[in-house]
């Protein structure tokens, strides 16, 4: 018998470890990249990193295959064939930059509006937005408008924070967690870590989701709700809390506008606004003085009930009363909503009782003194350990803003915002509610060769802040901040191409895009979008004359651009994840991070930010040029990251500021800053003191620190806006008040949906189509191991999922007469898609769903034409229209939330019918040309080189 073979148990992993930040998705985890001979051997999670604490997800671990993808772009390219043909010629960077400067410069000199700069899944918005501001176009936004602006706006208008990356459940202390409409989310690893903690601790997890997979499969209770009806469900929970009188009255008085008096003067121009004193402070009825008093004063004892007479003799009522009346209305009783939501009344009642029980009878008391904004010291921190999280299942509906607000109201009634066990803000949040930031880009602000007066995106308080032209038409190409979408805090990227092609509101000269696959999975109505990208005018010229695009890979959008600026992979470039943008903070720390080139590019590619700064210099944008006209950041992006100051002392990165690196947040540029970041694992984290950790919206120590850091301007509290006055301001305009009123086409719509107290209304598509014809809801979910379209070029990830099925309930299968793998036609009012079904039990019976962005177009991503992604993979996007069917007024609104302009992906209504035979999915587009790509390898043995190194 031979002895056991000798195994080398001590083989070193690699030559070196480089710590940087992952970008296989937007979660921005810290990674340790193990490198041997310049090749990536292994990637795992950075244990010290605040976001992922050492773990890594399925995508992150497959980073090697993304980095070495055969679909990587190799050099700048200029289109030579027609759009879509994929006929390009490679050009030098000098030529590419000169061409771009030429195109962009001409527009800037004549009419900066004629540039639309939209940046997709951008993690450098503090730079790209600033650049666009410097350029002077009003037309800038990233992907937020088609992603989840309803969550951002709903939260920021309500309590100065939001679910969307701006806060987290208190994973360590919460005892009851409700997850609304989440399959994966941006906080990919943190949610997984958190759910693991909750489940191990025995905290209850309740999932509200039409589909039971992933997180929703491990939930202790699954509520398989009908899509678009969460507002009814949450309304019924609130109804129950009010009915059983289980709300945190002290919390409401201390932190919210519940006691503020609302003017009751139907027909008046200020009806429904807050009664205010001369200084503009909202009034409450003060018990101590027995009269009206400022609601902002530290010493008032407001009451929550009672109709009061104002100084001018008119009447006013506290928000609390209006709110209670709204939700105690029988329309929100569990019985009334049971049918619409598909959730039995007794289950709703039990859930309400459970949350109330946990909030009020299982409260958490931390022995941690803290001081509130008025200076009052509290010996303990009292926690109501119910937490919630919600994302696109709520936001991607046309009633998402109001539904999101309703969930926040539920949290606030329980007293569970930023308390132990509740929802916690991540710095720089909370902001004021809404943040003190107005949008810029109205026609009067746009001048040739001049920067815009301020940032593009913000939070209008009323019609006066809309971005309109002199004739009240939209100033922005996406109609953001117009009557179409007055509070569109993130713009409407999904409308840009269509609007530009129809020249509604106007035509443009250059469309400049970055990191967004708009010719495929990120557009509604793909066929229509492709048509818009290739539409020609009567002279045979493209209606969108010039398209510049930066991508790293040969996506479906690349062949439609005229000039390609090839980006690097995430391991090859500098990046800055800044507190000025969407930082990586956690609830008890402020944190930011960088990426740096841990391996050298082997192609003629450049980081997009690098290129943007270069262009800024060439175009002579003031902030990117010195007085003598020379470029201000000759060292490129790293130079900018270190030396750019937005305000004196405040720059892209908060860590190691000051000449000697000892300052945090505010301090002079430090030439060594990036080295410090790299040494520290590419991130910086400032931990909050225990007394700052909760009640941040009203915590003096936190608020003062936030002012020092530049997060806030004054140490005043954030007051939760249960009742939203800005929303009412828009409604008043629709009711005929003020100088700026909506056009007749929009008047009724604004009057109806701009309700200052959230309410539920049916999603638009369902009410505009014949529900008998389209009885089913169709939605998508993100697979945890795929990131939109990026994953399919990944040799490992696509072995897990290379094709998708339409998941339908067994009963629906039986009704339709189809079973696993049968082909069906799925049709909406826009068109139809041919796909294969899979039966399942864990889905709302009236809902069908599929994995998002698995279907690919032939010719893209360097996949073969017979790849499963092409033949079986399908998108629902072909069925989702960017415009709603014509309603009563004859106007075709965008398929979006009427308040924020959030794309309503999940409003889709469909029917299903068996399809004949097998074959392939439809619609099937012409293959894209891809002559510039090297042939993809027929097999891989990645890692064999490391074995050789071993022996």
């Amino acid at each position: 018998m031979s002895a056991e073979p000798v195994v080398n148990l001590n083989q070193p992993v690699a030559d070196r470890v480089a710590k940087t930040t992952c970008y296989m998705c937007a979660c921005r985890c810290g990674i340790d990249v193990h490198i041997t001979d310049g090749k990536v051997r292994y990637i795992d999670g950075n244990r010290d990193h605040p976001v992922n604490r050492g773990v890594i997800c399925g995508k992150g671990s497959a980073g090697i295959m993304q980095h070495y993808s055969p679909a990587r772009l190799r050099a700048p390219m200029r289109r030579v064939g027609p759009r879509g043909s994929g006929e390009f010629e490679e050009i030098s960077w000098d030529e590419a930059l000169a061409l771009a400067t030429d195109w962009l410069g001409e527009v800037r000199r004549s009419d900066p509006r004629r540039l639309a700069f939209f940046t997709g899944r951008d993690q450098s918005q503090s730079l790209t937005g600033f650049w666009a501001m410097q350029y002077g176009t009003p037309n800038f936004a990233a992907h937020g408008g088609f992603c989840s602006v309803n969550m951002a706006a709903g939260g920021l208008y309500t309590f100065g924070g939001a679910f969307w990356e701006f806060g987290d459940p208190d994973w360590d202390l919460t005892k009851y967690f409700m997850l609304f409409g989440v399959a994966e989310d941006h906080a990919s690893n943190p949610i997984k870590i958190g759910i693991g903690k909750l489940k191990s601790r025995g905290a209850k997890v309740v999932s509200i989701n039409p589909v039971r997979t992933g997180y929703n499969a491990v939930a202790d209770e699954w509520v398989g709700i009908r899509p678009g009806t969460d507002g009814l469900f949450v309304g019924a929970l609130i109804h129950e809390l009010f009915r059983t009188r289980q709300v945190d009255l002290d919390y409401l008085i201390r932190y919210t506008n519940a006691p503020w008096l609302v003017i009751e003067a139907p027909g008046a121009a200020d009806d429904g606004l807050f009664a205010r004193d001369e200084a503009g402070a909202p009034l409450v009825w003060d018990k101590a003085s027995g009269g009206l008093a400022s609601g902002l004063g530290p010493d008032v004892q407001p009451v929550l009930t009672g109709r009061r007479t104002l100084a001018d003799g008119r009447m006013a009522r506290p928000v609390f009363e209006l709110m209670a009346e709204r939700y105690l209305d029988p329309t929100y009783s569990p019985e009334a909503v049971a049918e619409g939501t598909g959730v039995p009344a007794e289950q709703i009642r039990r859930l309400a009782a459970e949350i109330a029980h946990v909030a009020f009878r299982e409260e958490i008391v931390l022995d941690q003194p803290w001081t509130d904004w008025t200076g009052r010291r509290h010996e303990k921190m009292i926690g109501r350990p119910v937490s919630m999280h919600a994302m696109r299942g709520i936001s991607a509906h046309s009633n998402g803003f109001q539904t999101c607000r309703m969930i926040h109201i539920l949290q606030i009634l329980l007293g569970s915002i930023d308390c132990p066990g509740g929802f916690r803000y991540k710095p720089p949040y909370p902001r004021q509610a809404p943040p003190w930031l107005l949008p810029h880009g109205a026609s009067r602000d746009v001048r040739p060769d001049e920067p815009l007066g301020g940032p593009h995106l913000g939070f209008p308080l009323g019609p006066q802040h809309l971005l309109l032209n002199e004739d009240d038409s939209p100033a922005r190409i996406d109609k953001g901040f117009s009557w179409d979408a007055p509070m569109s805090a993130h713009g409407l990227m999904h409308m840009v191409i269509n609007n530009a092609a129809t020249k509604d509101p106007y035509g443009i000269d250059v469309l400049f895009m970055y990191m967004a696959n708009m010719a495929w999975n990120s557009s509604m109505n793909v066929g229509g979008t492709i048509e818009a990208l290739t539409r020609k005018d009567e002279n045979g010229d493209y209606v969108i004359p010039k398209i510049i695009y930066s991508d790293s890979y040969y996506s479906e959008t690349v062949p439609y651009a005229d000039l390609i600026l090839p980006d690097t992979t995430y391991l090859e470039r500098w990046d800055c994840i800044s507190l000025l943008d969407r930082p990586i903070s956690e609830a008890d720390m402020a944190a930011d991070s960088i990426r740096w080139p841990v391996v050298e590019p082997d192609r003629d590619v450049r980081g997009f930010q690098e290129v943007l700064i270069d262009l800024g210099g060439r175009l002579g944008l003031p902030a990117f040029t010195n007085a003598d006209g020379s470029p201000k950041y000759p060292g490129g992006y790293p130079d900018y990251i270190v030396n750019h100051q937005r305000k004196p002392g405040i720059g892209p990165l908060a860590g190691w500021r000051g000449a000697d690196g000892t300052k945090t947040g505010n301090g002079a540029p430090n030439p060594q800053q990036l080295d410090r970041y790299i040494e520290n694992g590419s991130f910086f984290a400032h931990h909050l003191k225990p007394e700052q950790a909760y009640f941040k919206h009203a915590n003096r120590d936190y608020l003062t620190w936030a002012v020092e850091m530049g997060f806030r301007t004054v140490p005043l509290p954030t007051i939760f806006q249960l009742y939203s006055e800005p929303v009412q301001a828009f409604r008043l305009a629709a009711e005929g008040h003020g100088t700026r009123q909506p056009p007749e086409t929009h008047r009724a719509r604004i009057a109806r949906y701009f309700d200052p107290l959230p309410f539920w209304y049916p999603p638009f598509e369902g009410s505009l189509v014949d529900e008998a014809l389209y009885p089913l809801h169709a939605i998508t979910q993100r697979p945890m191991h795929m990131y939109h379209s990026w994953g399919s070029q990944n040799a490992w990830l696509r072995q897990i999922t290379a094709a998708n099925r339409l998941y339908i309930h067994h009963d629906l299968g039986a009704q339709t007469g189809v079973t696993d793998d049968d082909w069906v036609w799925l049709a909406s009012h826009l068109g139809r898609v041919k796909c294969q079904v899979r039966l399942m039990e864990g889905v709302n019976p009236d809902t069908v769903w599929t994995w998002n962005a698995i279907g690919k177009r032939r010719g893209a991503w360097n996949l073969s034409d017979d790849a499963p992604e092409m033949k079986e993979g399908f998108l629902l996007n072909h069925l989702i229209s960017e415009l709603l069917p014509k309603g009563g007024g004859g106007y075709r609104y965008s398929n979006s939330d009427p308040i924020t302009g959030q794309a309503a992906w999940f409003d889709l209504r469909v029917n299903i019918a068996p399809a004949d035979g097998a074959g392939a999915t439809e619609p099937m587009f012409e293959p894209l040309g891809h002559a510039q790509l090297p042939p993809a390898p027929g097999k891989l043995a990645y890692g064999s080189q490391f074995r050789k190194a071993k022996t």
Binding site: I56, F242, G842
Partner: protein, 249 residues
Amino acid sequence: MTTLPPETGKKLGLVIDLDICVGCQACVTSCKEWNTGGHSAPLSDHDPYGADPSGAWLNRVHSYEYEKAGVSRTVHFPRSCLHCEEPACVTVCPTGASYKRIEDGIVLVNPDTCIGCKLCSWACPYGAREYDHDDGVMKKCTLCVDRIYNETIPEEDRVPSCVRACPTGARAFGDLGDPDSAVSKSVAAREGFGLLEEFGYKPVNRYLPPREAAPRAVVAEPQGETASLPNPRSAVERLFAWADRALSH
């Protein structure tokens, strides 16, 4: 080497918590990237960008729906080699390339002597062995033998790659032969089970079953004191009366 050791020093294995696993595939790709450059490097892929992509993977995640006590549930189900105590995958091997380590019970393939006859994969009831067409040898979960003892990596990282990666903490690694180990204790506490025990290979890896949610105490209408409020009144009036009273305390 093909005869099984009568006893192994330890019984190293994995414990997978089905109550927590969300099916994220992190353990799957992390395993792939570690092992494609590790002891059994490479784990080859065929037609990686074409119509029929496939390759060698040592760990996979399925998802199933099932019914229990009339309630339907979804479970995500990771599977790799279970490092059985009495597996025929070892004894059928004609070359001795397949062996079970005496020291810790890990079942390994020697990539230098395996002839690629595939017989061991036929003998495994769990489908846990992976033939690498390109390399011509059998691959399987090594329990990351080249990590768990590796003195060139920090001690806390000396766990299998899949365990290190798992974001939810659904995977644990340890000595299941030692009743006092953390893994053995969690198996005991949660009634961990083995797969297809009826088969008789005595798998070492354990699975923790999905938990049944415990019913929670609730008080339907706790603010019963409002009973003293005059009846009948609407819910709104009762609420307002209660709020007034509560705030005047």
